[in-house]
């Protein structure tokens, strides 16, 4: 099988959200000597782009997005060692620390965004829900993050987004990270008020914004 056909097979396996087929195609590609970075960039990521478009147009929903992400993650467990073995470095867009603010137990919007970030080539560290503000900062320091992404659904928890930004200022590290805010109760006006670097009303737009922020 030629390389182009191999890339198409990889892409289709991701679009089909078929983890077994993805792994089979990845192993076949490596066996044929294809560079593991090309497996990602020319096979898997184009498939994830299709998944992202299908999600945006409501042809698929969160469960299918998760299946595709799980298939991608399974593939990466094979590809990352292969890249290291070949002496290369993986090419990620950036590193993001994400979570829902303290006092807020809502997770679905944040989970959707996490998956879209991951499938768009970002390394994502998910802190979950009800996250202490210093955990955002400590984790960002630990993983040398580019972006801190903070979700809040409730009006009474919005203030937690501002607290993270204020704490970064207090520590003198505000300029080290881009801060994105989002969630049901947030608006562009709120993001501007608290001095966030980015806001988006949808997960898909948030990925575009994050890509702009790290470029």
């Amino acid at each position: 099988m030629g390389n182009e056909a191999m890339y198409e097979q990889l892409k289709q396996a991701i679009v089909d959200q078929d983890a077994d087929a993805v792994l089979e195609a990845v192993n076949e590609a490596l066996a044929e000597g294809i560079d593991p970075r090309d497996v990602i960039n020319k096979g898997l990521l184009p498939g994830l782009n299709v998944i992202g478009e299908q999600f945006e147009s409501e042809d698929i929903f969160l469960p299918e997005l998760m299946q595709a992400a799980l298939a991608f993650q399974a593939a990466m467990t094979v590809l990352e060692p292969a890249i290291k073995e070949a002496g290369g470095a993986d090419e990620k867009k950036g590193t993001i620390v994400i979570g829902t603010v303290k006092g807020d137990l809502h997770s679905i919007g944040k989970n959707i965004l996490k998956l879209l970030f991951e499938t768009s080539g970002f390394e994502v560290h998910d802190l979950g829900i009800d996250v202490d503000l210093f955990k955002f900062i400590d984790k960002a320091n630990e993983v040398n993050a580019d972006i801190i992404a903070i979700s809040a659904l409730l009006t009474t928890t919005l203030i937690g987004q501002r607290d993270v930004i204020d704490a970064l200022k207090d520590q003198g590290t505000r300029d080290k990270y881009k801060v994105m805010v989002g969630g049901g109760a947030t608006t562009q006006e709120w993001a501007e008020t608290i001095g966030a670097d980015g806001w988006s009303g949808s997960a898909y737009d948030a990925v575009v914004k994050a890509t702009e922020l790290v470029s």
Partner: protein, 460 residues
């Protein structure tokens, strides 16, 4: 029906599982399975379903979903499991009515069946929208309560103390919740209808401590009001919710089980939302011992509930419960259009035509996805209650062509909805009369448009 302590115990003894595995190995595959098993399918065109066989299959799918996937308790990481017999018994013993209010305002909300054209549905208005000023809060509540067609109100939220917004779980939140209740009851008293029930208890309280504190009788709430307890999406039954269940059952208060299945989330599309929404209503009775249900499905990206597949799914869940269980339901619409806009009125008309003919009671909705402060404009809600009463005279088959005519008037605007007005922009601060001619004209125009389509909406 299994007793409440046994229900709580199910959160302690079910299978241990991570949240991700609960979704990916139980809820999501089971939902797909029951949808396929019962051949639940939306044709991508219909807004108001009239196929009763399909409706009943949605109900059966919801029973199967709860029996086979269970609910998830994040505090214990366990699945709360219930047998099919336990679920069916709970359905058969579900309340068919809920009585609210005091004295002259004491009335009963009934579970309705689809195509019931001879009754008068319960009329609930308002919403928990954020309010910036105490005077506006009082005026809003007083004005809503003064409309004589109204049977109950949802009151807005007022979160600030001394100019600062209270934070979740803070002592200020407790004070804000207490203040909200006190002001709301005073606003209702000023309307001359002191016994009128508040059934969104308690809008400014996000945690059990705030709800319990604000339930102290001296602040003005009574067991004959209604207290909302939420499921978290999807299928999550947290300890905070169970704490509220324990307390409000202990004082024999009306409990509004509340759910917000997300279109585009784990529930997937229209079929998944219809089945999951129906499942929540069954869970509301079985797990929360609710006396009524607040059904609030929402689009995960647009943050509103007036898309075509969502209106279909919401109406379907009302019909499924109305035909098979009889649990009283109100449905909380989140609309894209801002207050006073034609878009908002068209969205509400379409939504109410679908829901009221399918067995739901009347509930006016949150404009502007509820993110615009002070956007609860009482005359909007009166107009929408009037729409609901007009819709109640129709069957689903009669309402469907009207809904199809209405949808194109707002469907393309949902991604960039029209901005609306605030209370202050509509009313004179002293007389509380409408002084915004544009606001009045939009309402009059839409009333005329609806009449032209065959839906006469008399002014009450």
């Amino acid at each position: 029906m299994i007793d409440l302590i046994e229900v709580f115990d199910r959160a302690e003894v079910g299978p241990l599982i991570s949240e991700t595995d609960y979704y990916m190995k139980r809820y999501v595959p089971k939902l797909a399975e029951v949808i396929a098993r019962h051949k639940v399918k939306w044709d991508k065109q219909t807004i108001i379903n009239t196929d009763d066989d399909l409706t009943d299959r949605v109900f059966q799918a919801a029973i199967d979903l709860l029996a086979e996937a269970g609910a998830y308790c994040p505090e214990t990481n366990r699945v709360m499991q219930f047998t099919r017999d336990e679920i069916l018994l709970a359905c058969s013993q579900a309340p068919r009515s809920a009585t609210f209010g005091e004295d002259r305002e004491r009335k009963t909300m009934y579970g309705r069946r689809p195509d019931t054209t001879g009754d008068r549905p319960w009329v609930h208005v308002g919403g928990g929208i954020y309010t910036t000023d105490e005077q506006i809060f009082m005026d809003t509540v007083e004005k809503m309560a003064s409309f004589n067609i109204v049977d109950s109100v949802s009151v807005p939220s007022i979160l600030h103390l001394r100019g600062k917004d209270s934070r979740v779980r803070s002592p200020q939140e407790i004070l804000a919740a207490c203040k909200t209740v006190r002001l709301a009851r005073e606003g209702i008293r000023r309307s001359g209808r002191s016994g009128l029930p508040i059934i969104n208890g308690i809008s400014a309280a996000s945690q059990p401590a705030s709800m319990f504190a604000a339930s102290y009788p001296d602040f003005g709430l009574r067991p004959s009001d209604g207290f909302l307890i939420d499921f978290l999406s999807e299928m999550v039954v947290g300890y905070e919710a169970l704490q509220k269940v324990a307390f409000y059952n202990s004082i024999s208060a009306n409990i509004g089980s509340t759910s917000t299945p997300l279109f585009g989330g784990y529930a997937g599309g229209a079929e998944g939302v219809a089945v999951t929404a129906t499942c929540y209503m069954i869970m509301g009775n079985l797990i929360f011992r609710g006396t009524y249900h607040y059904n609030a499905p929402l689009h995960s990206k647009l943050h509103l509930s007036s898309t075509k597949p969502l209106i279909w799914a919401i109406a379907m869940s009302n019909a499924a419960i109305g035909r098979n269980m009889g649990y009283p339901m109100v449905n909380l619409p989140y609309l894209g259009g801002g207050s006073g806009t034609r878009q908002y009125h068209y969205e509400m008309a379409c939504y109410l035509l679908a829901i009221v003919t399918s067995g739901g009671n009347i509930f006016s909705g949150h404009p502007a996805m509820s993110v615009q402060s002070d956007s609860l404009v009482p005359d909007d809600h009166k107009f929408h209650a009037e729409m609901g009463l007009a819709a109640a005279k129709l069957t689903r088959a009669e309402a469907e062509p009207l809904a199809q005519k209405l949808f194109p008037l707002f469907g393309d605007k949902l991604k960039d909805p029209d901005k609306g007005m605030t209370f202050q922009e509509v009313y004179d601060a002293r007389t509380k009369r409408i002084v915004n001619s544009e606001y009045q004209r939009a309402m009059d125009d839409v009333r005329g448009d609806l009449a032209g389509m065959g839906l006469e909406v008399p002014v009450s």
